[in-house]
């Protein structure tokens, strides 16, 4: 069987998209010195409200907006606890992840019980194709042999995700806000001494991350799967943290790292067709994480040594 078909490469991009969106949230967060490990929980909450929103309003676009708003609100709440009330942000993130699991099922049962009179444990029974984010077939591009089949026909959110990589670069390196985010991340005291409101910048940083993770959640329930079900994000928010680290915290590097994860999982799916033990296939993405982190660390160390040698 030929593994490297066009739909294999297509699936890499499809698998990588939600990871990429959350990775960009992690990149901006880390640049601003905000370690948001609650991305997984934000994605779960946004996945739920995105699909519920699309069902209520009958419009996927409004559902998508609701998912982003829910992501933003949750991130700002995290900020309130971490920055205003001085709670350890790792603990806040852990709490958000637990709410993403237990809280979503509680909410979906309560809401569906009061609104529809029956308690649901997933939104799969509500969602039809009309509630889903559409795929885009790009004119002209789709006619290019091979490449067209790989890059045309993805979800609208996939194209937005890759455009957001460019947005992230511009935001971080070409705008005053980006300069402030980076300076607060590097040295909050220095930033404060020149009149930057550290807490305002941190709220903005975590808020942007919340919106991005919200988009990732929306992709899960409004495109990838039809509707929300419990724990459906299944660790993608955590993989994003690894991708951020693997990419050296830079937008492009992290994007490549997200694609490496997409590649690893797509490879696992294809390999399973040949009858390899499923217990060997399942950990492939995690093995790739560990290997990549080791390679990244070795590379960093070599660079450090070189710099040290040059300085000496």
């Amino acid at each position: 069987m030929n593994i490297f078909t066009t739909d294999f490469f297509f699936s890499i991009i499809r698998i990588a998209t939600p990871i990429l969106l959350a990775t960009l949230a992690a990149v901006i967060g880390e640049k601003g010195g905000v370690s948001n490990i609650g991305l997984e929980g934000i994605m779960m909450m946004s996945a739920l409200f995105g699909s519920l929103g699309a069902y209520w309003t009958g419009s996927w676009l409004l559902g998508l907006v609701i998912a982003m708003v829910v992501g933003l609100i949750e991130a700002l709440l995290m900020g309130f606890f971490a920055f205003k009330l001085q709670t350890d942000i790792i603990l806040v993130g852990t709490a958000v992840n637990m709410i993403g699991s237990g809280g979503t099922i509680f909410l979906v049962k309560t809401i569906s019980n009061t609104v529809m009179g029956q308690s649901l444990t997933s939104t799969t029974s509500l969602i039809t194709k009309a509630h889903q984010i559409p795929s885009i077939s790009i004119p002209y591009v789709r006619d290019i042999p091979v490449v067209g089949k790989v890059i045309s026909g993805h979800s609208l959110l996939t194209y937005i995700a890759f455009l957001l990589v460019i947005f992230t670069i511009i935001l971080l390196y070409k705008t005053p806000l980006g300069l402030n985010i980076r300076s607060v991340g590097e040295n909050p005291n220095a930033a404060a001494s020149v009149g930057v409101s550290v807490s305002r910048i941190r709220y903005i940083t975590i808020g942007i991350g919340g919106v991005l993770a919200g988009l990732g959640g929306a992709y899960m329930s409004m495109y990838y799967a039809m509707g929300w079900s419990l724990d459906m994000v299944a660790g993608r928010g955590f993989i994003a943290l690894a991708a951020q680290s693997m990419g050296g915290g830079e937008p492009v590097g992290s994007m490549l790292a997200a694609l490496v994860f997409g590649f690893a999982q797509a490879l696992g799916i294809k390999v399973s067709a040949t009858g390899v033990d499923s217990n060997l296939v399942a950990p492939i993405p995690y093995i790739v994480t560990i290997i990549s982190l080791v390679l990244f660390a070795l590379n960093q160390r070599r660079k450090e040594r070189k710099r040290f040698a040059a300085a000496a």
Binding site: A225, S272, S278, A282
Partner: protein
């Protein structure tokens, strides 16, 4: 004279069903508590068990108390303490719980309260070890055989829309484990009985929640192996395979545990051919019948098949309109053969059965 006799016998027949509940009513209704290690509203196991118990309560045979303990990681610590609490209260004649997640907790509590009776459905991890615990399991291999027969007939029937020329069917399982392989081994055996050339593509999601991953597997099975029937046996994740079928237009999906056509939205229900049922509710009523009749099922493993109504297949809606008369006849014949014991379906729970199932799986790979 004849008329009188007829009238009398009709009267006698009419009295028979009346007599049974009266007898049951005469006995004191049993106090039953049902511990849900998840949430009601799953339209599957938990709801099915609840429906059966509700039926028993409506008939005045039990009084029922239901406790929803929640199903997330954070809820798990509650399960053991709730078990202790209800066992310690001594109020209940029977404590009912289920699924593979409960046996360890149950064993601990059952040994601490040897006079308390327990029932666990769909698990037999410690079957027979405690005299006060009844283990009810379902012959999912029998169910698999029926579904396999259906899938085998369908993939050959190219008159049906979206059925391709290739004799390949698919199976998406949760884990490469005995309970899933029990479904699978029946499925393969049933399909091969229809036509030995039929190939079966088996994938495991290694996960019960990641719908998106199951969808990727479904896509690969349809695009790479040309499957046109996929049976999803992976909890919520299995729905991803249905979504793959819908999106690629690659044939039909078969659901599991409950009637999934009813739980899906219109789009997904339209491509769902039928579902293999585990009737937890029926089995609890059956259990109560046996208990009332004086048969003690505690301290052992009881497996329920088609005859007892423990497993079954949905035969209305899409199944009725889509499948041909020949297919229906073949499925009925398979049900008959399995019920009568004419065909004994291998099980992954037999000695060495899981290894045999894995070998069978590898031998029919497309």
């Amino acid at each position: 004279m004849k008329k009188t006799l007829l009238a009398l016998s009709t009267l006698a027949l009419a009295l028979v069903p009346l007599a049974v509940p009266q007898q049951a009513l005469a006995a004191e209704p049993r106090n039953v508590v049902y511990l849900v290690n998840g949430n009601l509203g799953d339209k599957s196991f938990f709801d099915s068990a609840k429906a059966g118990l509700d039926q028993l309560e409506a008939d005045g045979r039990i009084t029922l108390n239901t406790v929803e303990m929640g199903g997330t990681d954070a809820d798990q610590p509650k399960w053991l303490s709730t078990l202790y609490e209800v066992a310690d209260s001594g109020e209940y004649d029977l404590i009912v719980c289920g699924t593979f997640q409960m046996p360890d907790y149950l064993k601990e509590v059952a040994e601490a309260y040897p006079d308390q009776k327990f029932l666990i459905f769909d698990d037999d991890t410690y079957a027979g070890e405690d005299a006060n615990v009844a283990n009810i399991v379902f012959r999912q291999n029998d169910l698999g055989y029926i579904i396999g027969t259906l899938a085998g007939c369908m993939t050959l029937d190219t008159n049906v829309e979206r059925i391709n020329e290739d004799k390949v069917i698919g199976f998406v399982g949760g884990y490469d484990s005995p309970v899933i392989n029990d479904f699978m081994t029946g499925y393969i055996t049933g399909a091969q009985a229809v036509d030995p050339d039929i190939k079966v593509d088996v994938r495991y999601t290694s996960d019960y929640v990641d719908t998106a991953k199951a969808k990727e597997y479904g896509n690969s099975m349809i695009n790479d192996s040309k499957c046109d029937i996929i049976w999803g046996v992976a909890g919520n994740a299995g729905n991803g395979a249905a979504e793959a079928v819908l999106e690629t237009g690659g044939g039909w999906f078969i659901g599991v545990d409950s009637d999934q056509e009813l739980t899906f939205s219109d789009d997904l229900a339209a491509i769902t051919l039928t579902s293999g049922l585990k009737n937890v509710g029926n089995s609890l009523i059956w259990f109560m019948d046996q208990w009332d009749a004086g048969e003690e099922l505690f301290g052992k493993r009881t497996s329920l098949g088609i005859v007892e109504g423990g497993v079954g297949i949905v035969t209305d809606k899409n199944y009725d309109t889509i499948t041909s008369d020949e297919t229906k006849a073949a499925v009925d014949a398979a049900i008959e053969a399995v019920s009568s014991g004419e065909i004994v379906v291998p099980s992954a729970f037999d000695e060495g059965g899981n290894e045999a199932a894995q070998k069978l799986r590898d031998s029919v790979r497309p």
